[in-house]
């Protein structure tokens, strides 16, 4: 026993044994049901979009880390999350070169420029999508009808558009329920919406599978359930009120909940831990703001869908929410404004 070296550390000497990489991995896992459904409903095109997005994000992260002389951080799974999310929010026949560009922007502008994991102000995947939407407004609103018979056999010509070229408008495109409602006043069946028998972005169509993934994360305590509950609750309450006032002019609250990217956004996008507030009250406020913006943009805005902008704005105010809303510290007066 003499002369031996003892390991010393500062207390506590125990850890729960859970790692950030583990959390990230489980988030990827939780997105798999929705991703698999996307491949099932949109076929080989959707698979290619998601794979391209993931590859692009991981590659960008790796190269940027190396260029800046730091060890690569791709094995913490966070770049994979961004990649999968980006793939899921793009149309299933989005040209692959644009998808790739989106990944570079998401990681480069949305994450790396802010300082990497833990420092991003916005959800990186949404930064990527926002830039793509501004750059390629036509391609990003070119949809693809779900469950086409040859979806596992043929690759859409749009997908393979030559880099820096806009694809030809695909004749097989189908309007999303939201644009159908916005521009034609047609409301979709809520059962079809919930199950995903509709067209839309790659991974946003099946509310059921998205919720399944979210439920898994909540059960494993890897997600703050207050965020989706607060967003969906706000959207439901606000659109429900409008619907009660005038059912002719406003969409039903169920339609609002299950259409477009709301489910995907509320469950997997707005819950980005880094870009959301940290206190329980803070996330409820954050969720309310996002829900409010979704309803406002969808109903009164010029665009059919507003989830992306709503979440990005929510991300932007989240540091301010954190500054204003702090838990009351033990043993201090009930009203304490922490500035």
């Amino acid at each position: 026993m003499s002369g031996q070296t003892l390991n010393i550390s500062t207390s506590p000497h125990l850890t729960k044994g859970l790692g950030t990489d583990t959390i990230m991995f489980h988030v990827v896992l939780a997105m798999m049901p929705a991703t698999c459904f996307a491949v099932y409903s949109f076929g080989i095109n959707a698979a290619l979009v998601v794979i391209t997005a993931v590859l692009s994000c991981v590659l960008t992260e790796h190269i940027l880390c190396r260029l800046s002389g730091k060890p690569s951080t791709i094995n913490d799974w966070s770049a994979v999350i961004t990649g999968v999310l980006l793939g899921l929010v793009l149309p299933p026949i989005f040209p692959l070169w644009m998808t790739f560009l989106g990944g570079v922007i998401a990681i480069g502008m949305g994450k790396f420029m802010f300082g990497g994991l833990g420092y991003n102000v916005f959800n990186p995947a949404l930064v990527g999508r926002a830039v793509l939407q501004a750059a390629f407004p036509v391609a990003i609103t070119t949809w693809y009808t779900a469950f086409q018979s040859d979806r596992f056999l043929s690759i859409s010509s749009s997908l393979l558009a030559f880099p820096f070229m806009e694809p030809k408008v695909d004749t097989m495109s189908g309007a999303t329920p939201l644009s159908a409602f916005k521009f034609d006043g047609v409301s979709a069946d809520s059962m079809d919406l919930a199950l995903g028998y509709i067209s839309g972005s790659t991974g946003e169509t099946s509310a059921l599978f998205i919720l399944l993934g979210g439920l898994y994360l909540v059960i494993r305590n890897f997600m703050n359930w207050r965020i989706p509950v607060s967003i969906l609750g706000t959207v439901f309450a606000l659109s429900g009120t409008l619907y009660l006032i005038n059912p002719e002019a406003y969409p039903s609250p169920m339609f609002m909940l299950f259409s477009g990217g709301l489910m995907l956004g509320a469950v997997f996008m707005a819950t980005d831990m880094v870009a959301s507030p940290i206190t329980s009250l803070g996330v409820v406020i954050y969720g309310f703001v996002i829900g409010l913006l979704v309803v406002v943009i969808r109903i009164w805005g010029g665009l059919p869908e507003g989830v992306m902008y709503a979440i990005l704005l929510g991300n932007a105010i989240s540091p301010h929410i954190d500054r204003l809303v702090q838990n009351r510290v033990y043993g201090t007066a009930k009203k304490k404004v922490s500035e």
Partner: protein, 443 residues
């Protein structure tokens, strides 16, 4: 308010308990080592002042050093023998401190030297406090804060409830559990002394639900004339912290920067209470204490009554270690100190010795950036924001941490570091930040 609270405090964590390995093992007397190393500073405050010299022969229980000033306590000989030398010895914090090397006399009798008994009926509050100080009693839960100083109630305050802390929320440790099962008479006698000195009208013994047997036993044994009740609270770390326990039992919150007496309460550890009940009637001093020796590296785990000053190396030799020791913690694994040197000794504050041998601790050391997951915010028993504090510490914004985010309230329970998935050493950051803030304030 009293009726509405939840019988526990807000937040907290649930580390694996590992108590079942020793909680059924009765307290056993440990053998006396040939040489005791007794540091003069075993408590918070001034080191005790020597009253013996090198070469002197001392009897078990004899005064070795007296209290030096108010925040200091006396020190007694744990064993009959001869003082070989008075010199520096390594302390747990890595520093060298003055202490007594006491060589045990072979074939010594079991005679114990006693001082002035404190009679419960006739003693005044001051006399009881003096008796506690002269008996060398400090908080045995681990903090080693002189007990008499804690019991001294300022004139403008009064104590309504005496809280006996039998929570023992640290994983692995079972000393308080065994003390409650085996030393109820001492505990209740100690409570009589404490009630008299504090003037409290009520006494609550707080016990966590994982020690239901101790709670049942104590409830049954309460003397009919004592206003004592046993309250069982759910298992949660760090419920044994003074503030958390007060909240769990009474629903009140100790004001930030304040003391339990600000909410008319005094909290005393249950083993300390037993020691008061055992020592004061005879005017004795502390000579030994109960320590849980456990951990995956220990062969003969158990709860042992060990003389103060027993070298750690001797203790480990006696209980046997399997394989090569890699880590030794004095106290529990959440707030205890990792030992860098086996040549230190058991002190009054040592509540447990937890030993791990190689490959038994799997600690993922990779530190990730804070992802603001909020796990620490949901763990902090004081509702601080460890995530924010950690970021501010990195920017060295110590004043902002103290002024805006209540850094100085943090008592380093370790809950935030325990849950952090990014393995950020938050408690270490806060410890350093607190000492810097204290230094800045002092200068």
């Amino acid at each position: 308010m009293l009726a509405l609270h939840r019988n526990t405090f807000k937040h907290g964590v649930h580390p694996p308990e590992h108590k079942e390995e020793t909680n059924q093992l009765p307290i056993r007397q440990f053998s006396f080592p040939p040489l005791l190393m007794i540091p003069l500073s075993q408590h918070i405050g001034n080191p005790s002042k020597l009253v013996v010299r090198e070469g002197q022969e001392v009897t078990r229980g004899q005064l070795l050093a007296e209290s030096d000033g108010y925040l200091s306590v006396a020190l007694h000989a744990p064993e009959t023998g001869k003082i070989r030398k008075i010199a520096n010895m390594p302390a747990i914090n890595g520093k060298m401190v003055q202490g007594i090397y006491l060589e045990a006399a072979p074939s010594s009798t079991q005679e114990v030297l006693e001082g002035t008994p404190i009679d419960l009926e006739s003693a005044t509050s001051e006399e009881i406090l003096k008796g506690i100080q002269n008996a060398g009693i400090v908080g045995l839960g681990g903090a080693a804060f002189p007990t008499h100083a804690k019991l001294n109630i300022p004139d403008c305050k009064h104590c309504e409830v005496l809280i006996i802390n039998g929570i023992e929320c640290e994983p692995y440790l079972t000393t308080d559990h065994r003390v409650m099962l085996e030393q109820s008479d001492d505990i209740f006698l100690g409570i009589r002394y404490l009630l008299k000195s504090t003037g409290a009208k009520d006494c609550v013994i707080g016990i966590e639900a994982n020690k239901q047997d101790a709670a049942d036993y104590l409830s049954k044994s309460i003397p009919s004339d004592l206003p004592v009740k046993v309250q069982v609270v759910p298992v949660k770390y760090p419920q044994g912290a003074e503030k958390m326990l007060i909240t769990a039992l009474t629903g009140k919150e100790v004001p930030s920067g304040g003391l339990p007496i600000d909410v008319n309460a005094v909290v005393v550890n249950v083993a300390t209470t037993a020691e008061i009940g055992r020592l004061l009637p005879h005017g004795r001093g502390i000579q030994e204490r109960v320590i849980t020796i456990t951990g995956p590296g220990i062969k003969k785990k158990g709860n042992y009554l060990i003389p103060i000053g027993t070298p750690l190396r001797y203790v480990l030799d006696q209980v046997g270690v399997e394989g090569k020791i890699s880590e030794v913690y004095m106290g529990g694994p959440m707030m205890g100190v990792a030992v860098s040197n086996l040549d230190i000794s058991i002190t009054k504050g040592t509540s447990g010795i937890v030993v791990f041998t190689e490959n038994q601790i799997t600690r993922s050391e990779k530190v990730y950036p804070c992802i603001k997951c909020g796990a620490c915010v949901d763990a902090c028993p004081l509702s601080l924001n460890p995530s924010k504090l950690g970021i501010l510490a990195k920017f060295e914004a110590y004043d902002q941490m103290a002024e805006e985010h209540h850094l100085m309230d943090c008592f380093e329970c370790g809950s935030c570091s325990y849950v952090c998935p990014s393995h950020i050493p938050l408690v270490q950051y806060f410890r350093v930040s607190k000492s810097i803030v204290r230094k800045r304030k002092a200068s």
